[in-house]
């Protein structure tokens, strides 16, 4: 089975009296065992020029390329806002179903597990109608 890893490093040299750095590498396994995740949606790129709500990843599909991304399994989602940061007033709200998780400003990324049950779509809403470009991928079993 494939071996896919996700590594994060958080670092600051001036937030506290001493430098702070934490790093972790996770191997992406199927739920409850050490078999590597073997499927992915591939890397996607989506442009939207609207402040309306948009479904990025549709949970609980019964057909189509992401149909096997289902609840109680081990799906991982990466999303990056490819816009420039600008003055920091523009962002996209990332939502799970109708619940807002947080804001991705230009250049920000996120990596989360995803309970991809029916209705648990990952959605986004841009803070204004200027063009927003998101890059995303989902690894799943």
């Amino acid at each position: 089975m494939p071996t896919t890893t996700a590594t994060i490093t958080l670092a600051t040299s001036d937030m506290a009296d001493n430098s702070f750095s934490v790093s972790n590498t996770s191997t992406l396994y199927n739920a409850g065992n050490d078999t590597g995740i073997s499927e992915t949606t591939g890397l996607g790129r989506k442009k939207v020029a609207s402040a309306s709500n948009v479904v990025l990843l549709d949970g609980g599909l019964t057909s189509g390329i992401a149909a096997d991304v289902t609840a109680d399994k081990s799906a991982k989602v990466y999303i990056k806002n490819h816009n420039l940061r600008g003055d920091g007033s523009k962002f996209v709200n990332i939502l799970l179903a109708a619940v807002e998780i947080g804001r991705l400003y230009g250049g920000d990324w996120m990596f989360i597990p995803w309970c991809a049950a029916s209705g648990k779509d990952i959605e986004f809403t841009a803070s204004d109608a200027t063009e927003t470009t998101l890059e995303y991928t989902c690894f799943y079993e």
């Binding site: 670092a11 600051t12 799906a75 920091g88 998780i101 400003y105 990324w109 597990p113 049950a117 991928t137």
Partner: protein, 153 residues
């Protein structure tokens, strides 16, 4: 203001027909600023018992409508162990042993800024452990905090 970076690398030599290697680095900036870094953080390590959903990171008015970022890692090693991470009763997903997440957090809904508030229609980040108790580490990078008045002041 502080400069704090978050870097992710996703890689696999055998998931696809060619190597997968994706890397991204971001700075954690305050809302409505060009490049002013967040200058507050918490880092916790704690044991989560099974059977109860807890507020891992409590909502607060000071964290609302701003840029905050959350990192959570499951330090257990048994591959059957997992925690459910939720927000406002919506399960985000399961962190299995060794898994981590990094996400923005807006604290969109705040019903009560209290360290004892573990219920309600709020944006607290919730956690529930399954199979065994879990060792969890989490970090919150933020801008502002609602401080609690000392009860015996």
């Amino acid at each position: 203001m502080a400069t704090t970076t978050a870097t992710i690398t996703l890689s696999s030599a055998d998931l696809l027909s060619d190597n997968l290697s994706l890397s991204a680095t971001m700075n954690m900036y305050q809302h409505n600023t060009t490049a002013t870094g967040l200058d507050e953080m918490r880092y916790h390590r704690l044991v989560i018992p099974t059977g109860t959903q807890f507020d891992l990171i409590q909502d607060s008015t000071a964290l609302s409508e701003d840029a905050s970022y959350v990192y959570i890692v499951n330090k257990n090693t048994d591959v059957t162990d997992y925690v459910k991470i939720s927000i406002n009763a919506e399960e985000i997903g399961r962190l299995y042993a060794g898994d981590w997440l990094f996400m923005p957090w807006d604290n969109d809904l705040t019903d009560e800024a209290s360290v004892t508030d573990q219920t309600g229609n709020d944006s607290s980040i919730e956690i529930e452990a399954f199979t065994h108790e879990h060792i969890i580490e989490f970090a919150l990078f933020h801008n502002g905090e609602t401080l609690q008045t000392s009860a015996d002041s």
